[in-house]
Symmetry: C2
Subunit: 153 residues, 2 copies
């Protein structure tokens, strides 16, 4: 105990609760995503596509903060499940356009109920809805700060 620096304690760092909360939250989605036969990162890609219908790999990456080295294999899996189409653009052969299949479009209806179920799980007597919203806003603010820090390098 004598040689323990305060700063080096797990609970005193921001990073660890962020890391742990992210993983546990992802786990909360599993029982809802398993019936749809998709993983959480795949769900995030679909969320983006349900909003924009058609996006390049680059675009999806910008939205989710992911590179092609993660996305390409993930998108191939979604293609194998016949949820999306991957078509190389005619006007720019470098870019691959990702779009929803009919099956992928339909999945949206089943997924529509998930966010509410998750949110209700978070809302407790210790953390009401308005507190949750203000927390989320702070989180997004933090996200932008980190984003700037990592980009400006």
């Amino acid at each position: 105990m004598s040689t323990t620096c305060e700063q080096l304690q797990l609970n005193n760092q921001l990073c660890f609760p962020l890391y742990a909360a992210s993983r546990l939250t992802t786990k909360m989605y599993t029982p809802h995503l398993k019936p749809l036969d998709i993983t959480y990162p795949q769900y995030l890609v679909l969320l983006a596509l349900w909003q924009y219908e058609k996006m390049s790999v680059k675009n999806i990456g910008a939205r989710l903060f992911l590179e092609s080295n993660t996305l390409t294999p993930l998108l191939k899996r979604l293609e194998q499940k016949e949820l999306i189409h991957r078509i190389r653009s005619k006007t720019d052969e470098r870019t691959v356009m990702v779009s929803l299949s009919t099956k992928g479009e339909k999945l949206k209806e089943q997924a529509a109920e998930i966010p509410l179920k998750i949110q209700s799980a978070f809302t407790t007597e210790d953390f009401n809805e308005s507190e949750l919203i203000s927390f989320k806003n702070n989180l997004v603010k933090l996200l932008h700060i980190i984003q700037d820090k990592t980009n400006n390098k």
Copy 2:
């Protein structure tokens, strides 16, 4: 736009900024951890050991919310780097006790400066230190809520 449910938008869910912030934060550690030749999860294990010196795999897992299927290979890598010892307990042959090696103990000094460097990166005109602390407290509160939800299943 017409068929887009509000709830299904990326930014309106808590999960996504949590996931993104966690990954970007981890990335911020990389330049500091690379000189020490350790990864971020390995750093977390060492943080726990610097605090308690000697822990069972089970104990480390309880602290980091990780199971042996993740920890065992990770700990073997730390052992290969000669930062820790893994010794099966004499009193209970099922448990493996993890302790710091001299080299692992020494690494603490080099790591001691990391938390401050990270924290200063987070502190900006948009997010001062007290805001950061209250945000972290909310994050920890959320973590406990999720923890209860996932345990009681």
